[in-house]
Amino acid sequence: MVPFTTLNALACPLGLENVDTDQLIPARFMSRPRDAGYGGFLLHDQRVGPDGASRGSILDNKAYAGAAIMVARRNFGTGSSREAAVYALWDFGIRCVIAPSFGDIFASNAVKNGLLPAQVSEVAADAILEWLAAASGRMITVDLQACSVVCGNRSYPFVIDPVRRLQLLNGWDDLDLTLQHEAAIKRYGENRRREHAWVVPAVS
């Protein structure tokens, strides 16, 4: 996983609440292999009409081409556990989403792929969105060491679980860590079966 420390990048003010993962990537695209790239599926049905014509979404606005930060409102990534929502954001080029709250599973999936879910207050989200709306093409700096979002001369704190922060900062993969506990896992599994015979699925 690529470590995340600081990011200075163009920010796209999506500004919507309850952006569920069904919107982030409609289900019909999820059977595709990842190598093909998922970026084109990001928020697909808001960007492309049934006739294939562009709906003029902010994601396709030239002023935001190359944005690596997205700013949204409460409950971003709610709903389905599909990690493909993160793949779509990542392949589109997004490395950080700033919002007042995130769906739990989405936030976990994001971190596992190196994408930072930065949780700011409602007031801060409003202020950041307003600042971005005032002029297009504005850059934001997200500093994961300091847990701050810097917009021009204003700075806003964000929160993230300390463990997730460390994982992102170091680009750690869970598996390496888990394998250090292999003996304990084996012991636990054996004890559990011995002490509680009912946990073993009965053979039908």
């Binding site: 609440e17 309850n18 569920d20 069904d22 919107q23 409609p26 289900a27 019909r28 999820m30 059977s31 292999p33 990842r34 049905d45 049934p50 409102r73 409460r74 409950n75 709610t78 709903g79 389905s80 556990s81 599909r82 990690e83 493909a84 993160v86 709250s101 769906g103 739990d104 599973i105 976990s108 999936n109 596992k112 792929n113 409003d126 679980d161 300390p162 463990v163 460390l166 869970d174 598996l175 860590l177 888990t178 394998l179 506990h181 304990a184 896992i185 636990y188 599994g189 559990r192 509680h196 015979a197 009912w198 946990v199 073993v200 699925p201 009965a202 039908s204």
Partner: protein
Amino acid sequence: MTPKDSAPRTLFDKLWDSHVITMREDGEALLWVDRHFVHEGSHHAFRKLDEKARGVAEPSLTFGVADHYVPTRGRPVIADPEIGQMVERLKRNTTKHGIRLFGLDDPAQGIVHVVGPEQGLTLPGLLIVCGDSHTSTHGALGAFAFGIGASEVAHVLMTQTLWQRKPKRMRILVDGTLGAHITAKDLALHVIATIGADGARGHALEYAGEAIANLSIEGRLTLCNMSIEAGARCAMVSPDAATIAYLEGRPYAPKGEVMEAAIVAWLALASDPDAVFDRELRMNAADVAPTITWGVSPEDSLPITASVPSPEGSTQRQKYLMEALAYMGLEAGRALVGIPVDRVFIGSCTNARIEDLRAAASVLKGRKARVPGLVSPGSSAVKRMAEAEGLDRIFTDAGLTFADSGCSMCVGMNGDLAASGERVASTTNRNFRGRQGVGARTHLMSPAMVAAAAVTGCLTDVRALLLVEG
């Protein structure tokens, strides 16, 4: 070590404590997974295994279910090659790793969250995961069950464990009794409307109280299923006599002496009387009306007797409401009752168990549907049961299609979709934009309410329908 006899613990505390393999200084715990369900959508995770050239740590605790992409008609033929490939890929991956698969042609096939409890794979006291957010369903039997993403699925496949931080504990106590024709679905939508789609975020949610104790296991499954729509990490109900009665004799459930020991362990799981919750809410079942969604999030729920909300509140809120109403093609202020629907769907892991089909059939019996609709039972076993009871005839006589079991129109991955602009009365769990098809307008409600909408061709208070027509 667990302080067994000291501090009072909640059901969730007990479930958590019994699965901790090791704790890290930073507070993350490595948890043991007792059951892991995979489905066609798990292909990303299997690919990660291949990339790392690793196998499945505990194939005997892993179960595959074909549900998300399976066709509901014309089986075993799968017309669409892309869909056929998804079902085939699951078969290949499970065969390769020695995992028991409830595949397309298996008599026990069905939707993963229906199959687990039905087969007795879901038990109280177990930690259960699946790469699907509605895994919260299994908590209805007193399990610690939650949905995970593809990276975590791969981690569980490789190690049978997961790193987690302990969520906070929340309890919703529901006093009193639900009124006639008011179900767990109405209660679930009522809860979500009350606390919001992120109201239980970061919490393990326990339901308790008189109304919950009186719910059938099917009802509890519906309630825990919908809890993810309130943002809960997982949801649960303490196992009781009803739980045990439900599990006895199920194929994979313990038998004989092992079952006796299990029952003792299960009944000890209930929250201790003085256990403390981080958050507690109390509501009265008598306040729950038949509840439906009008908008694009499950929190956009109202009693059927209400009207479409008018945009008010902050500018942001007004914008949200206006966009939701525009998507739904609804006019602010009009009564919900009487809004015409184009189609109905009875299915999904939320509301397609036998009790749900019975409730819908009791409304449809001797009546005709004015709109087309699809009934997809929660499992092939439920389908056979419904046929044995003659429910299939009631549905087809009413003019609805009675099909095979799968996720079907809950998510539309198999091609069962509504057309753009169509309004669907649906027993499913998500009314997100485009969930049932690009531009489709979903109204969530109970099976009886969907049946009532089918009969009248519009959103209807099932109580009024049954009163008027007898």
